[in-house]
């Protein structure tokens, strides 16, 4: 099937390849293959612990390097002025392959370590310096605040005294002592001053009060500016406090409490002159320190700038190195430990590219030993790999979300490109709404290059990912909108209508008469606004959705055929596909034919009433052979219906029995020839060890690790029977329920049309008649409201709901007819994907 050009119809053909890579080129080879992104390596030592593998040392080293790079990154991010990080595409690539690779990596390791050491050193010195600055700043604050306090106390001495007296009012019995006390105050009362975290001040106060039994006077003020920790960048706010107390024991206690609560104490002299002296001194020292600090900060910043230039490059290299060694851990050493043995799935089409890459890697590394590549034969199922581009990716994802296609199975993602937007559009049919989402998608595609590079938030990112789906959905909606003749719930009047309305009769009702024209495309606009318009569109859309549904299911059923032919299962064609097809067509295919036939007849010229097709179908199943003369669609109807019903009836046992019977015969035949299942006698273990031994002896040509769980499926006969019974019942019931399920096309499209009509008539229509400036303004406001409601409710909300229903129709109604979806995804080692994951 089209081996020359990649196709979406089936997943890529894969080969299990064995690579024999000489140890010295292993790294470069893996690097080259990682750039190519085409090989999915298999883990050849699944039993080995992650830390017992061969390249743990290297991984650990790269992890250490990653840690350092992360450290730089966090340092740069914490910097308040933005440090530019040179983007990757601007930086010169660091050579990590070739003969100098090891050297380069070593060098990088050393450089990183050096940078880290320097940076840590600088941080430390910066921190100590700023710590000291902070202390000095605090000291200055303490000095200033206490000075203010003392000055105030100086001037208002008497006030303080009275206030002291007041506060001790309840202790009046000690009046004399108190008197004495306050008179001796005169500021030779000992005090302690310092700073403390603002959050702790209340606790501090309480504890002190209790420890000293209230024998203290405490004052505190806020320091307005916060202190910033240079290492973490967190802000702390502090308070200056001053505590007066009497007696050495008490002071010692205060000191101890203060220290344990994390306060910093500063020696303050009671003498005002000395205080101003020390303030001057502190200020001078602070100035010195600040210059030093500024220089250190400048140094640090220039260092960070230098790091920022290289950071992206380092990140890239380190990430790739880690991926390379992690991949190499999956490999196996051969007996002499000179070469690495790797196994991996490769798209057969890309073999030449891989060979080229291998040769290139050898050339780059400067050795003459070429890695050997040869194909292994295996009974294992290869991974499913569907090549997509930015257009098909979205559609393929829709199908992959249901289940990854079995290897080489017909891929429904290909057909979803057309059917998905079409079924969506059937529900969403409106020219206006279709155009809105079409242009939205067009805008996203126009911005594609820009948006693809930047991080989008989750919701927008999802829409962006599906931009091509949305584009097609919009286009198809315009088409179905034309069919329904709906634009924002109004109708287009392009050609001559087929109907003329007569003058209204006495009851105010005007009837339309045919004027011989035939509206060439879509629904005649005359139906719009007609009293029986809804009845007409309902009947039309309902029948149309059944027709579309049966066509869609038949198509999905037909997709079985290429699968059966490809995998050489003729039995499945005879035992499954043909009876299923007959069953579906004889009941629902017949219904579709009847719908089309009924549409094609001008019932106004017939003498019978048009029969109800629903009743016809029910009668066909419940009372076969009898057709009411009034409800007859065509002559000979009863006979044909009986035949069709019998055909469908025959199909059920056909599906039920044929496949199990032939399988049973096959088993009988095999056993008749004297073959017996191996695993009944031999333990599975023995087999696998034999295999491993053998492969070790031969060294190549065999798969080294063959997991034994697979391919040992017992073809138990009872299992086949049960499976077939379930399958049959599921199909027969499914046909009925799935056909009914397609009626959602009608329901959703009806709801959409009605909703947009309601929105129109509730808003704009009421204000259209208004005139004058006021009317214009109101109209403008209403139009804005109407438009935003159209976008949010009708396009986004309704669109999402139609999307979901289209999704369901594909996943459940169509996929259940043919899709196995038991594959697993091809996940190659790819550096490009590594970036995406980050």
């Amino acid at each position: 099937m089209g081996d020359d050009y990649p196709t979406l119809f089936r997943s890529e053909q894969m080969s299990l390849m064995q690579f024999l890579i000489p140890t010295e080129v292993a790294h470069d080879t893996v690097a080259e293959l990682g750039e190519l992104g085409n090989v999915q390596f298999k883990d050849l030592n699944p039993a080995v612990n992650p830390f017992q593998r061969s390249f743990v040392g290297e991984i650990r080293r790269t992890e250490e390097m990653t840690r350092r790079v992360r450290f730089f990154e966090s340092q740069i991010q914490k910097e308040k002025d933005v440090v530019p990080i040179r983007p990757l595409y601007d930086s010169a690539p660091l050579l990590t392959v070739g003969p100098s690779a090891a050297h380069n990596i070593d060098e990088l390791d050393v450089t990183l370590a050096e940078h880290e050491k320097r940076l840590v050193q600088m941080n430390d010195s910066y921190k100590t310096l700023s710590e000291r600055t902070r202390e000095l700043v605090e000291a200055r604050h303490v000095l200033r605040e206490t000075a203010v306090f003392f000055e105030k106390a100086e001037t208002q001495h008497t006030d303080i005294r009275t206030s002291f007296d007041d506060s001790s009012a309840p202790l009046l019995q000690h009046d004399d002592r108190e008197q004495q006390y306050s008179s001796t105050v005169q500021f030779d009362l000992e005090f302690i001053a310092g700073t403390i975290d603002r959050t702790r001040i209340s606790t501090f106060e309480r504890v002190l009060w209790r420890v000293l039994r209230g024998n203290l006077y405490m004052n505190h003020t806020d320091i307005t500016e916060p202190f910033v920790d240079p290492a973490t960048g967190t802000e702390t706010r502090k308070n200056v406090f001053i505590i007066f107390a009497h007696g050495d024991a008490l002071l010692a206690k205060i000191r101890k409490v203060a220290e344990s609560m994390g306060a910093t104490l500063y020696p303050i002299d009671a003498n005002a002159d000395k205080r101003s002296d020390s303030l001057r001194e502190v200020t001078a020292r602070l100035e010195d320190l600040e210059t030093v600090l500024y220089n250190t900060g400048l140094n640090r910043r220039s260092k960070l700038l230098k790091i920022g230039e290289n950071l992206a490059r380092w990140q890239d290299v380190v990430r790739k190195e880690k991926a390379i060694y992690e991949t190499m851990n999956l490999f196996n050493f051969d007996v002499r430990r000179k070469t690495l043995v790797a196994e991996g799935w490769v798209p057969t089409r890309d073999l030449t590219m891989i060979q080229l890459a291998l040769r290139h890697a050898t050339e780059a590394s400067g050795t003459s030993v070429v890695p050997i590549l040869h194909e292994l034969r295996t009974s294992k199922t290869p991974p499913t790999f569907t090549r997509t581009n930015k257009f098909t990716e979205g559609f393929q994802t829709i199908m992959d979300a249901y289940g990854i296609a079995t290897y080489q199975e017909v891929n429904p993602g290909l057909f979803a490109i057309v059917t998905f937007p079409f079924l969506f559009a059937v529900m969403f049919g409106d020219i206006g709404h279709g155009l809105i989402i079409f242009f939205a998608a067009l805008y996203m595609i126009y911005q594609e290059k820009k948006w693809a590079r930047q991080e989008l938030d989750e919701i927008l990112g999802q829409f962006f990912y599906g931009r091509y789906i949305i584009l097609l959905m919009g286009t198809f909606s315009v088409y179905t909108g034309l069919m329904y003749n709906d634009i924002f719930s109004k109708s287009l009047h392009i050609w001559h209508s087929g109907w003329d309305f007569l003058e209204p009769g006495s009851n105010g009702v005007s009837y339309a008469v045919s004027n011989g024209h035939m509206y060439p495309f879509g629904v005649d606009p005359a139906w719009h606004g007609a009293d029986n318009g809804l009845v007409f569109t309902n009947s039309y859309k309902m029948k149309m959705s059944i027709v579309l549904g049966v066509i869609h299911m038949t198509f999905a059923l037909c997709l079985q055929l290429p699968n059966h032919i490809k995998f050489k299962r003729p039995l499945d064609i005879y035992a499954n596909f043909i009876p299923q097809m007959i069953f579906l067509q004889s009941i629902f295919g017949y219904l579709v034919v009847c719908i089309l036939y009924k549409w094609s007849i001008d019932w106004s010229t017939r003498d019978t009433e048009p029969p109800s097709l629903l009743n016809m179908l029910i009668a066909m199943l419940l009372s076969p052979g009898k057709v009411d003369a009034n409800a007859q669609l065509y002559p000979g109807q009863s006979f044909i219906q009986v035949v069709l019903l019998l055909l469908a009836m025959v199909c059920v046992p056909w599906m039920l029995c044929m496949k199990p019977y032939f399988q049973w015969k096959e088993i009988q035949m095999i056993q008749g020839q004297g073959y017996v299942g191996l695993s009944h006698h031999n333990g599975g273990h023995r087999e696998s060890t034999d295999e491993v031994l053998e492969s070790e002896e031969e060294g190549n040509g065999r798969v080294i690790v063959e997991e034994m769980e697979e391919e040992h499926e017992q073809h138990d006969f009872s299992e086949v029977v049960i499976h077939q019974i379930i399958h049959t019942i599921e199909f027969c019931l499914g046909c009925i329920s799935h056909t009914a399920s397609y009626l959602r096309l009608w329901a959703l499209s009806l709801a959409h049309a009605q909703l947009s009509e309601v929105l129109w008539s509730m808003t704009i229509e009421k204000f259209l008649g208004m005139s004058g400036i006021f009317g214009t303004i109101t109209l403008a406001i209403v139009v804005v409201f109407w438009f935003s409601a159209t976008v949010f409710i009708l396009c986004i909300m309704e669109g999402l709901s139609a999307f979901l229903h289209a999704l369901r129709l594909h996943w459940v109604e169509a996929n259940s007819k043919h899709y196995q979806g038991e594959g697993y995804l091809f996940t190659p080692l790819s550096f490009a994907k590594l970036d995406e994951k980050e």
Partner: protein, 357 residues
């Protein structure tokens, strides 16, 4: 009826805690952890578990204490998340869990101050779950009275300390007595509190707390042999709850050697096993009382783990929160133990940890 409305306030947190619980290391994790050669391996191995890369940003020569600290930090983070999202009465219940750690911290600080250790060093060694605002001020106090008046009076521990104000001055013996008195009061209070918050919780928590009380009773008895502690004093330290209470407690108060303790424990089915093999152990080598005590401690931990695991079998109750904290604590002990064994190259003792799941 409780089940009907339980999830209104606590469903989210119960879900969270059960999720946390399923992240507790299993037997197979331990199996691969014990195969590690170096602490670097250990780190790699742990990063494959729910701990994730909690050590990723630690510079290379790892120490056991860093691992323990970081692991405790994860527990504390989890607990704080639960605590800050909880409402009454669960929040109160979670507070009760922290009281135990607070008592330990208080005693640690008092002992440290008594031996004149550096305050900041002591503060660093405190369990982060039991830290409270005024804790640092504890190191000022020199006797119990002062301790109570200056610091503890405003903490939730105040009622527990009220009973031991008589103990005059602080020495090692008295501190130990204080610790046990306070813990007894705490356990009894917790036990009573649990009784008020719904029958399922009662079922689960009473079992665990009763065992906790019995464990303390037995430990106190064994540790008080050959000390100055009189038998009356000893009796006062026993919590008045648990399965040994009251008859067992009375007997234990009078016990003189370990055999009498064994006899008392034989009366309770589950406790019988505690001393089962110790006889054979004694005959094996001359382990003496110390050996028995060490083995006993191990069995106590096993029993605790077992009871806490049972808590997860019941729905609509608070016991899971308590049990999670306790199990996680045990897990941290295990990790630290294994890490320590790796660091000191004592591979033969590595398997002495207590597996949880």
């Amino acid at each position: 009826m409780e089940g009907l409305f339980f999830n209104v306030n606590n469903g989210f947190l119960e879900g969270i805690v059960r999720g946390y619980k399923s992240g507790i290391l299993t037997q197979s994790h331990y199996a691969s952890l014990t195969q590690c050669e170096t602490l670097e391996d250990f780190k790699t191995q742990l990063s494959a578990t729910d701990y994730g890369n909690f050590l990723a940003n630690e510079p290379s020569p790892l120490s056991t204490s860093t691992i323990a600290d970081k692991a405790t930090q994860t527990l504390v983070d989890h607990f704080n998340f639960l605590r800050s999202n909880s409402v009454e009465p669960l929040s109160k219940f979670l507070d009760y869990i922290t009281y135990g750690y607070m008592i330990d911290n208080v005693v640690l600080l008092i002992t440290g101050t008594l031996h004149e250790r550096d305050t900041h060093e002591l503060l660093e060694r405190c369990h982060p779950l039991g830290i409270f605002d005024t804790m640092p001020a504890l190191c000022v106090a020199t006797n119990v009275e002062e301790l109570y008046q200056s610091v503890l009076v405003e903490t939730p521990l105040a009622p527990y300390f009220r009973d031991c104000l008589s103990a005059a001055d602080l020495d090692d013996m008295n501190i130990e007595i204080i610790r046990n008195t306070v813990y007894k009061a705490y356990l009894e209070d917790f036990y009573n509190y649990v009784s008020t918050i719904g029958s399922t919780t009662v079922d689960v928590m009473h079992n665990i707390l009763a065992f906790e009380a019995d464990r303390r009773t037995i430990n106190i008895t064994i540790n008080s042999f050959d000390t100055e502690l009189t038998k009356e004093q000893r009796a006062k330290l026993f919590p008045a709850i648990g399965r040994l209470f009251p008859a067992g407690n009375n007997a234990l108060a009078k016990a003189d050697d370990i055999d009498q303790v064994r006899q008392v424990c034989d009366n309770v089915g589950e406790y019988r096993s505690f001393f089962d093999n110790s006889a054979s152990g004694q005959s094996n080598g001359d382990l003496g009382d110390f050996g028995v005590a060490a083995q006993l401690e191990d069995r106590f931990f096993r029993m605790e783990v077992h009871l806490n695991k049972l808590a997860f079998l019941q729905q609509f109750q608070y016991g899971v929160f308590y049990s999670y904290v306790k199990l996680k604590e045990q897990e941290i002990r295990n990790i630290t133990w294994i890490a320590e064994c790796i660091a000191q190259d004592a591979r033969d003792r590595m398997h002495d940890f207590i597996p949880i799941f």
